[in-house]
């Protein structure tokens, strides 16, 4: 069990996909305009990671080495299609807000990267731990970025139609730039620098 925990914890901090591996930056910038969208995309990415890692790890001995990448891509694309249909059916507002970024999960290097680097070489339990760790690490990073952008850019946080809180002063005059693309680059850049400065992650 300690192996399972170790692989799980690893994804949260020491190999956090966004802040350490710098993988999956496109979604981290594009869908963090609000906490709601960030949660939606994180759920989809975690689902796809978990399902495709489990599947690839299960059939890893039957995949010929030369065609492994196309096989991985088809498995990933299948689960992305499943996630897409589930979102469309059950949470259409988030499906519409995420737009092209939901089907784009298929092209995110983070999913294929874990399949190639981990799931294709390890047994199922370890692959599940790795996928969960990376997925939750990704989710935490997205929550952090989205919270900062939504609070500064709109003055408060509202989720699924309920206003959680509004900051006095900022609520009336929000700093719009933070929910625009420029704010995304700025927030992620400063967070990366902050994590290096405090020593959470090593200088790259």
């Amino acid at each position: 069990m300690s192996g399972f925990t170790k692989e799980f914890i690893k994804g949260l901090i020491t190999s956090n996909p966004i802040f350490v591996l710098a993988l999956g930056l496109c979604p981290a910038l594009a869908t963090t305009t609000s906490l709601e969208n960030a949660l939606g995309l994180s759920a989809a990415v975690t689902f796809v990671l978990l399902a495709s890692s489990t599947m690839i790890s299960l059939i890893r001995k039957f995949i010929p080495g030369t065609v492994r990448i196309p096989v991985f891509i088809i498995i990933i694309a299948t689960f992305v299609t499943v996630a897409n249909m589930l979102f469309q059916a059950y949470i259409p507002t988030i499906y519409n807000a995420l737009g092209i970024y939901l089907p784009l999960i298929v092209a995110y290097c983070i999913v294929l990267g874990r399949a190639e680097a981990f799931a294709s070489k390890n047994k199922v339990s370890r692959s599940i731990a790795d996928a969960l760790g990376i997925g939750i690490g990704f989710t935490l990073a997205l929550i952090l970025i989205a919270s900062i952008r939504e609070i500064l850019g709109t003055g408060g946080i509202s989720i699924f139609g309920n206003d959680l809180f509004t900051l006095p002063g900022l609520g009336d005059n929000p700093i719009y730039i933070f929910i625009l693309p420029a704010g995304a680059f700025l927030v992620v850049g400063l967070l990366l620098a902050l994590f290096r400065w405090t020593g959470v992650t090593k200088n790259g």
Partner: protein, 191 residues
């Protein structure tokens, strides 16, 4: 004609595929240190985008729509892109070996380049006609090349710049990206 022009400018400058849509960030941050490589990469991606858009449109309208199988589009698109890149690789290797060599690994990387898949999805989402999706792909490709070229020049200067240790590398590139987006806001409303 006016509509096509506005799609072109919109894709290239106003809704730039890297800066506003955040697609193709890996080459933007990863390999754009030399102007020559950046431009080559941009031209290559533009070519793949054009061919992929044509293929994507044809598959959407003549294969998936008649079969009522639109839900399979993600799988089809990614397979089309992977096949196309493989074909271009073989074609270049046979016809223009020096060009093939200068692209090297970047050719293979285009498969996982979200910009190519992104442009097919955008055209599909907007319901573009054949010509419109072609123009959109051309605009997106030129916008991609432009930003990659600009960034390569800035990255060369950043290498020598004396910035705080924690900001070196990726963080300062992100902040530069933020400034670049703000500069591109200037194009808003020109069409």
């Amino acid at each position: 004609m006016g509509e096509l022009w506005s799609i072109f400018i919109g894709m290239a400058l106003i809704n730039n595929i890297i800066l506003v849509k955040f697609l193709g960030l890996c080459p933007f941050f990863g390999i754009s240190k030399k102007l020559g490589i950046a431009v080559n990469m941009g031209v290559l991606v533009t070519a793949v985008m054009l061919v992929a858009s044509v293929a994507g449109w044809l598959i959407d309208n003549y294969v998936l729509a008649p079969l009522n199988a639109e839900y399979l589009n993600i799988i089809m698109y990614i397979l089309v892109i992977a096949t196309l890149v493989q074909m271009i690789e073989v074609f270049l290797k046979r016809t223009n070996y020096s060009l093939y060599n200068s692209f090297g690994i970047y050719l293979a990387l285009i498969v996982t380049n979200c910009a190519v898949l992104g442009i097919i999805l955008i055209s599909n989402d907007e319901g573009y006609s054949f010509i419109e999706s072609l123009i959109a792909a051309l605009g997106a490709g030129i916008g991609f090349t432009l930003v990659l070229a600009i960034m390569s020049g800035i990255r060369e200067r950043l290498e020598l710049a004396d910035c705080p240790r924690a900001l070196k590398g990726l963080p300062i590139a992100f902040i530069t990206g933020a400034l670049l987006v703000m500069a591109f806001y200037g194009f808003t409303g020109i069409v």
